[in-house]
């Protein structure tokens, strides 16, 4: 039996190119003592992965080594098991990477109950992106009813959950997205109070939709959206720094003027708190997150959308599209049949 994999061939400079990756075929490995072999059904594509493809910057995780399989969360089914806790046919969430089969060491695997929620959600609304949103809003932001929360990439895997939790908690949820269709989805399906197109007039959008300023900015994108939100931060506002998709492919610092003093000066004048958010710091909220978000999904209060691309050979173009905001909802690549659908 053969295992197709995508390996990192070169560290990308700027936007990743097809030639930075290689699709290779190897034998499916056999699980050793205590190990489990998993057939990947869905692999998750997330913006943070771009950071692991740099070997020249400090980040929160080690870079992928050249020649190694690209890393990422997966959902799959156990094919063979030498671990008494998992049996053939079990559905699992895993960190299997960009390949059709993977061996997983115990401790990384998590069994899924397909009757509780679609298994694909284990890498989306009920997985790392949903947990990130929950940790940021519930754990860090101190958001209060009546306040205004602004989130960029509002139709994305994290942003969509962020705004819905804000709305559930009684706050005003305002987002931006990159197409009018995404904005309509965020307003109508996700029921944000407002969502406007960030390719339009940003200042006018903020003025209209955040008439009382911004109390919490959940930052996913950076760039001019950030600066517009920053200029409208209220006294004692909080900024949650989750990511900067707009800068992930930058190779150099942008040209001047140097606006770093505007951030520090603004933080002083308005007594802001700026927090960096990484979900792995918030595992103590995992059980609360699972309980609350799965409950909100069952009650219809919280909704999600998946953007599923088929076939490992389409993973790299999908990943390039993700970094350009071309996906619409949580981006997954389906590598084999999902028997639960």
């Amino acid at each position: 039996m053969r295992n197709r994999q995508i390996i990192l061939k070169a560290y990308p400079v700027g936007m990743p190119k097809a030639s930075d990756f290689e699709l290779v075929e190897r034998d499916v490995p056999k699980p050793g003592p205590g190990q489990v072999l998993v057939r990947t059904i869905y692999m998750s594509l997330d913006p943070y992965m771009r950071g692991r493809m740099n070997n020249n910057r400090r980040s929160y995780a080690e870079p992928i080594k050249l020649g190694e399989v690209c890393q990422g969360g997966t959902v799959g089914q156990v094919v063979a098991s030498n671990d008494p806790d998992f049996k053939e046919g079990d559905f699992v969430a895993d960190f299997g990477g960009w390949q059709e089969y993977s061996i997983s060491a115990k401790g990384f695997l998590r069994k899924l109950d397909p009757d509780l929620a679609p298994i694909s959600t284990a890498q989306g609304v009920l997985g790392m992106p949903g947990h990130t949103a929950y940790a940021g809003v519930i754990g860090l932001s101190k958001l209060k009813a009546g306040e205004t929360l602004f989130v960029s990439a509002a139709s994305g895997a994290v942003g969509g959950v962020v705004g819905q939790i804000a709305r559930i908690k009684g706050a005003r949820a305002v987002g931006v997205a990159g197409t009018d269709e995404k904005c309509a989805f965020v307003r109508k399906e996700l029921r944000f109070d407002a969502c406007f197109n960030h390719k339009g007039d940003l200042a006018a959008g903020f003025k209209e939709h955040c008439p009382k300023g911004v109390d919490v900015n959940f930052e996913n994108v950076g760039g001019e959206v950030f600066w517009n939100a920053f200029s409208r931060m209220n006294l004692h506002g909080r900024i949650i720094i989750c990511g900067f998709i707009s800068a992930y492919n930058d190779t150099d610092l942008p040209p001047g003027p140097d606006r770093s003093g505007m951030i520090l000066g603004g933080a002083l004048v308005n007594r802001l708190t700026i927090h960096g958010l990484l979900v792995s710091d918030w595992m103590h909220l995992w059980a609360d997150f699972q309980r609350d978000v799965s409950g909100w999904i069952r009650s219809g209060e919280l909704r999600y959308r998946e953007d599923i691309v088929k076939g490992l050979e389409n993973a790299v173009p999908a990943f390039q599209g993700l970094l350009q905001g071309k996906n619409f909802g949580k981006l997954l690549v389906q590598l084999s049949d999902d028997p639960t659908r």
Copy 2:
């Protein structure tokens, strides 16, 4: 009886010039019903005052109007009183401004007991600067024993108290100051664990004196000292933004590259928390601050130094010197005899 005052004649561009101010002489006013007339003994000069001399930027306080007396904290003695809570001869802390006599509305006045502490300390270690230090370290920083706190302007009115509280709390206190004499004072008198000259090799200084990185950076100055501290911040470090003396006279944003993304990216990678600090948010800690700091002064655990300039006509040069780091300790201008010394 005549009252000499310094009024703001022009909003300074860059470093304040002598011609931006004017020394005028007017009649001493008479206190109205419920009012108190105070003879100023000491007036406080503090870096924040520069921000009140701009009318083209957003700050946390309204700018001084042209033709008005420059604002600031004072210590004085009651000359005449129509307020039953204050009598002639009482020593008071006040917000009287740059003048020899002032009328104070009730609510701004605070009676001082010269037997408890020298009255001058009411605008220094036991006043706004000390309270700022206390609020930042005790209220905001979550500093733990064994951690490293770094503070700029370590011999100044705020920085000196910051590092001493850190040391009292069992943390490693490291500072920078602008002369070797100030550094020696910070090490020997204030008993910081280390203090080095920020005009020397900053990277080497940080490497030697913060061998385990920086957990809390209490920022008073900005500029390259900030960037060096920032590059050594530990995981989950905290940055307290108290001030940016180095930028108070800037007229434009500095040239590029734009380093704002370094702050936000660094906050994400190291999950930093950046807080803006303004002491007026922390009045609920006033009683704790007075009890703790006066106790530490009495026990000898906390020391302070005052830099007293005599005569209202020397206030402007002293203020210019403050913005250039020429003072050595808490800067006060003495306008009349202190009967308690």
